[in-house]
């Protein structure tokens, strides 16, 4: 099973049925599979804070939700994470493409990469870094941990990880 298939399978087996996405090159494959999945309602959003609002609403309506986005979005969503997702205790898995790591061709991506883990740590968001393709096997436990604790959880996925997609 490819990394992309494993991610979608884990989302489905954890009853995640509402996923919003803002695209990134590294995420194109998984977004395509989510869009095709019959068990997941896929709603693209225009900005990641908007997406978190959609996820919060879906969660309150009884659906487990998740967001797929790029690490640059951490800069966009800090207020939403603090005053909506964390303040109201809403579980939110964030599958994040970790641009700006080894193998990155675009210099500007490094500028947010150097802040990504520090910002997540400052927000006290449990953070997992997928570097090798086998790291995907931790996703199931991370999703369970997220819904158990009713917290946002970050899964950073770098270019080395996606080589296995």
């Amino acid at each position: 099973m490819s990394v992309n298939q494993q991610i979608v399978a884990d989302l489905v087996s954890n009853n995640v049925s509402f996923v919003t996405t803002v695209p990134c090159k590294q995420l194109a494959g998984v977004i395509e599979l989510i869009d095709k999945s019959d068990e997941i309602f896929h709603i693209p959003s225009n900005k990641e804070d908007e997406g978190m609002g959609l996820c919060a609403g879906a969660y309150m309506g009884g659906k487990r939700s998740a967001i797929i986005m790029q690490n640059t979005a951490i800069g966009v969503t800090i207020n939403t994470l603090a005053t909506l997702i964390q303040y109201y205790h809403i579980p939110l898995p964030m599958l994040i493409s970790y641009r700006g790591e080894l193998g990155e061709p675009v210099a500007c991506q490094v500028e947010m990469a150097v802040h990504t883990k520090a910002l997540l740590a400052q927000l006290h968001i449990p953070t997992y870094h997928f570097h090798r393709s086998e790291d995907v096997h931790e996703l199931d436990a991370i999703l369970k941990h997220c819904y158990m604790s009713k917290k946002p959880v970050a899964i950073l996925t770098d270019a080395s990880f996606w080589k296995g997609a």
């Binding site: 509402f18 309602f41 709603i43 693209p44 959003s45 225009n46 900005k47 804070d49 908007e50 997406g51 978190m52 609002g53 959609l54 996820c55 919060a56 609403g57 879906a58 969660y59 309150m60 309506g61 009884g62 659906k63 939700s65 207020n79 939403t80 603090a82 005053t83 909506l84 303040y87 109201y88 205790h89 809403i90």
Partner: protein
Amino acid sequence: MIRSEVLKQLIPVISDQLVVCNIGLPSQELHMLDDQPSNFYMLGTMGLASSIGLGLALAQPQKVISIDGDGSILTNFGTLPTIANNVADNFILLIIDNGSYGSTGDQPTYAGMKTSLAAVATACGCEHVVECRAEDAADTVQAALDSKRMTIIVCKCESGNIKVPVIDMDPVVIRDRFMKEISKRNA
């Protein structure tokens, strides 16, 4: 007519509906006028009332009314194409458009100048956009509820505020109470 008077007029129509209410004075006014377990008050995060309401409407069958403001819609403009392209016929977005950022001291918004939110919503692809006068807000929302079609209402009213207490309910209590009410209605 100012926003608090619009809300007062709306209470008989929205009291028993699921309502996601915008941050600041709108939530404080609704809380003071008619606190209900079916109300979700936003204590932070300007701009997301419409997104939360759409997510909720797409996730379950009860009708959902998001009470938003012109300033908040301008903050989260990307919401209108998302709403237009993900039609939920149990969703009503009520934009109370007083042409100002009411909660921060009535600074003017562009919606009170050249920008028409109804025209923007239409251009974004929203199929059922209604602009109404403040005096007609209750009838317009009732008609939208009866129509069983996703409706965007832009209700034009005057700028101005009344004194209202802040909401001292804990956010988790607001969310838990709201979710239990939704589960009860969907049981």
